[in-house]
């Protein structure tokens, strides 16, 4: 059983590795009119993984600022940003990808929301995070795939 898990995660790591090799770098993302039309990796996002990334305080931590009724098992949803319920009804996939990649370029240059796939960072970035984006390219696609499931209509 344990072996199986190890084998499975090795395969997973392999696919992530492949995806990364082909990923569009943060400085090369094509954003036009607040839309990023092309997938960053060419690999379809995994909504379940995206949901976990949203919850994870070290990754998306989206719940710090957004209410999301689809994740009721987590206490403490923040109210700094708008609720994400039905967000896929309001925005297209390309628009949501742009918001995730760099909300400051896509929506609001003054936004408090972090730009998750951008190297335009603040001053004095802690050494550990220097030159790194908050999320990897595939993680952005995963979160995006999850956001696309948030429909009310």
């Amino acid at each position: 059983m344990k072996k199986l898990v190890v084998a499975a995660s090795a395969v997973l790591m392999l696919t992530v590795g492949v995806a990364l090799a082909d990923a569009v770098g943060p400085n090369d993302v094509a954003m036009a009119d607040a839309v990023v039309a092309e997938s960053l990796t060419g690999v379809a996002g995994d909504p379940a993984a995206g949901r976990d990334i949203m919850i994870n305080r070290k990754l998306g931590n989206c719940l710090a600022c957004h209410v999301n009724s689809e994740i009721p098992e987590q206490p403490f949803h923040g109210e700094v940003g708008p609720p994400l319920d039905g967000v896929a009804d309001r925005w297209t996939e390309g628009e949501l990808r742009a918001i995730l990649v760099d909300v400051k370029q896509a929506m609001n240059p003054e936004s408090i929301m972090p730009s998750f796939y951008s190297l335009k960072l603040g001053a004095r970035v802690a050494e550990k995070f220097e030159g790194k984006t908050i999320l990897g390219a595939q993680q952005v696609e995963d979160v995006l795939a999850y956001l696309m499931t948030l429909k009310e209509e």
């Binding site: 305080r57 931590n61 719940l63 710090a64 600022c65 209410v67 206490p75 403490f76 949803h77 923040g78 109210e79 700094v80 408090i112 972090p114 730009s115 335009k120 960072l121 603040g122 001053a123 004095r124 970035v125 802690a126 050494e127 550990k128 995070f129 790194k132 908050i134």
Partner: protein, 284 residues
């Protein structure tokens, strides 16, 4: 003076709170801080020059359970430190064989000081914090070793001295030689830092009153420092809190006692002018 039971009670409440799902709060509450029968002002009108529409103490954003710990000096876990410092105050140290009391007599002689800090200091040609002033007495007047910024004796002593000003309005000089430091502190306050790329103002000016995950954002005022934080299970300095906030947004913090943090302390103090000193305050 404080009972050990007070600490245990506080820890118990912290654990209880952690397991509770709190409903989303918005805006500061309307509770009144009354300690030993005395009303402590926790909000004041903001002057026209203020970027805030109204000025609130951090106490107003805490849960009723945390608030109540600060309303009774016997429950307030910060008083353990105050009591320890009262002993240090009387204890001789250093080559001169003197205690603080040898020269200052009763600590109440330092009432009012907390409300004015940091203040311009001719001797060093820069603003002095309470830590700076205490260490000058230790090294130059007692022949004792300087205390570290976050060393227990230092934090405890700043709590004891600040308590003498409890209830007095924060009133810090912003003009004259302080003006340049205010500008520097203001720059730092509005500069986006860290991988998360945020400034102090993003959270404490634009979003106070909002929940950020489990935390109810306050204006980040410093009128209650040093504070007893349940999370720290102890007292901490102003610069320790600044450091924590910078680390949370994945920035390299400035050093405690650095010119940058002194400038930031002075500027943040000015944003809370008129609030009452609340030391030792209790926060989660």
């Amino acid at each position: 003076m404080i009972k050990v039971g007070g600490i245990f009670a506080a820890v118990g409440i912290a654990a209880m709170l952690a397991s509770l799902v709190s409903p989303a709060l918005a805006d500061p509450d309307n509770n009144q801080l009354i300690i030993e029968g005395e009303l402590i002002v926790t909000d004041v009108a903001a002057p026209d020059s203020s970027p805030l529409d109204h000025i609130y103490s951090g106490w107003r954003f805490r849960s009723p359970e945390t608030q109540s710990l600060q309303m009774d000096d016997f429950e307030n876990p910060g008083f353990v430190a105050v009591d320890a410092a009262a002993e240090t105050w009387e204890t001789a140290d250093g080559s001169e064989g003197k205690s603080c009391a040898s020269c200052h007599e009763d600590v109440s002689s330092l009432a009012g000081l907390r409300a004015e800090l940091p203040k311009w200091d001719e001797a060093t040609n820069k603003p002095a914090t309470m830590e700076n002033l205490i260490n000058r007495c230790r090294t130059d007047r007692m022949g004792a070793e300087a205390w570290g910024w976050e060393q227990k004796e230092m934090v405890n002593m700043t709590a004891l001295i600040s308590l003498q000003s409890r209830g007095m309005p924060v009133n810090i000089q912003t003009d004259g030689p302080m003006a340049e430091w205010m500008e520097k502190g203001k720059d730092l306050y509005y500069t986006r830092v860290g991988q998360l790329n945020m400034s102090c103002s993003n959270c404490h000016e634009d979003n106070y009153g909002n929940q950020i995950r489990s935390d109810h954002l306050s204006q980040g005022q410093i009128n209650g420092f040093p504070v007893y934080r349940l999370k720290w299970a102890g007292l901490g300095s102003i610069h320790r809190r600044f450091k924590g906030c910078m680390e949370n947004i994945r920035a390299t913090p400035f050093k405690r006692g650095s010119d940058e943090f002194i400038a930031l302390e002075a500027y943040v103090a000015s944003r809370g002018a008129g609030l009452a000193v609340e030391t030792p305050s209790v926060r989660n």
